[in-house]
Homo-oligomer: 298 residues x 2
């Protein structure tokens, strides 16, 4: 399936090129006692594509570098990568393979933005901008909790007690990058954007740091079956957080595009030190930094 | 130094985009008892850039994913990566970092071809095309042998006995991608091209397989201090092997560009089963497959 040349040839290019790389390490980003190698592959590709979504871009192709023990079931791993590539319209155009002690998958995605405003950075949010999220949060972390409680692989064990649990497990095993949402937000004049990969408060912190603003959150939508802690601290949901001075226009653009309208969660403020949820400083909530309990990362 | 956004923004694009990824694993591609972490970093970047050179392209930027033990001296690693990036005109525009047991560095480079003919593939060689190489081979493998004989790190130990040895050690520690050579060969109408990364006979085998041709080699230039076995089987020299129906024009183009004229080593033949060096079947020479003794790879 991979083009057997030194480099893949893509294009022709469409304006500015986006380039992003994302590591997935077994035991760090994925627990192979709980999910399959195909799930790890899917997640690795989706995570990299999500970085393109968070710029308002469209993926053009991925290259996949896999270092792992010789016993690794590469067919299963590549099956998950290929399915995610197809689902996200991001063909795998090349790769490299080596032995190593731990399984390490590095997915690099190139993409572009099609006409309209340029890529949406983290640094463009201004005081007064509304903050919206493209969907309820915490499903990925909830799914991991369900899997851990069940002790059975692949989400069919005793930990799964309801449809909500199963939905959360699938959110953990097979997350989707929000490509249509990202492009729509860019077209509607989003000033800053990020995907929820580390956890809402951690990722919002990245936007606030880069933009030199603070924020006040009112309320955060929680995914079915997830807790508020999972919604605030759980990463790898890949919903997008969008800043815009025109939340009404943003919501209209989403509805016009046939997408679920994003939800207003708060607004940006002029004081970079102000970071609150329902009046409480987010530092007190303990989710400022990524890689908390809600994430596989250690 | 890295742009702190979800994806790097490059461009605007220049026609067709090249994309390539290359793994460097400590203990597989580099022996850290013999070379420094900065050398590993340099080599990782140069190897990926070399894949762009082998298409006749120019690099636009690299992203670097590093998974390794928490004790890894990242400053030293990044120093080597940054120096190679500067030397090759290929800025590092993004990256990712994670913990893992072994040090794994995945460098992905995007590039483009500037006007003239399109990217040079492995598959375009025809019967009767001359085969040329951009320089003498085997220096990288010779350098590794010198380092192993010396038992001392960084090429200053007792194994280094001459200027040639030192030159070979530097070829191993700090190889260069032949970017100017690749672009010149593309402009001069090369029909197929590959960089010597696995070893001459292995890489020539890739070209022959992809092009459906055989080859007859007359003589192969051997780097100072290297053996003929190192020239035939040693990888990571990054000289380019070029096929062309017009070797005189190719050599002229190199001289006009201020480059050393490439050396004719043989020609392509119509029978894919014919693969000889000075009349001896190359299968008998034992260098058909990569990752022989001349390479770090196992």
């Amino acid at each position: 399936v991979w083009i057997g040349d030194d480099a893949a040839v893509l294009g022709p290019g469409h304006g500015r090129i986006l380039l992003t790389t994302d590591l997935s390490v077994a035991g760090v980003h994925a627990d192979l006692a709980l999910i399959g190698l195909d799930d790890l592959g899917w997640r690795a590709l989706a995570a990299a594509v999500s970085d393109v979504a968070a710029m308002g871009g469209r993926p053009d192709g991925a290259v996949v570098a896999v270092a792992g023990p010789p016993t690794t079931d590469l067919d299963l791993l590549y099956d998950g990568i290929a399915r995610a590539a197809e689902a996200h319209g991001c063909p795998v155009v090349g790769g490299d393979l080596s032995t190593s002690g731990d399984l390490v998958v590095a997915v690099t995605v190139t993409g572009h933005v099609d006409g309209g405003p340029g890529p949406v950075l983290r640094s463009g949010a201004g005081p007064g901008d509304a903050l919206l999220v493209t969907g309820p949060l915490g499903a990925g972390a909830a799914g991991l909790r369900v899997l851990r409680a069940g002790g059975a692989a692949l989400g069919t064990g005793p930990g799964v007690r309801s449809g909500e649990d199963l939905q959360a497990v699938m959110a953990h095993r097979r997350p989707w990058a929000r490509l249509a949402e990202g492009e729509t937000a860019r077209g509607a004049g989003a000033t800053a954007m990020i995907d929820v990969s580390d956890g809402l408060l951690a990722d919002l912190g990245h936007v606030a740091d880069a933009s030199g603003v603070g924020y006040r959150l009112e309320e955060v939508p929680v995914a079915p079956g997830a807790t508020i802690d999972e919604a605030l601290g759980g990463g790898e949901d890949y919903e997008l957080v969008v800043a815009t001075p025109d939340p009404v226009g943003l919501r209209s653009a989403f509805v016009d595009a046939g997408l679920r309208a994003p939800v207003v969660i708060g607004s940006c403020t002029a004081d970079p030190a102000e970071r609150t949820l329902a009046g409480t400083a987010t530092t007190a909530l303990g989710w400022e930094h990524p890689w908390g309990e809600g994430s596989m990362r250690t």
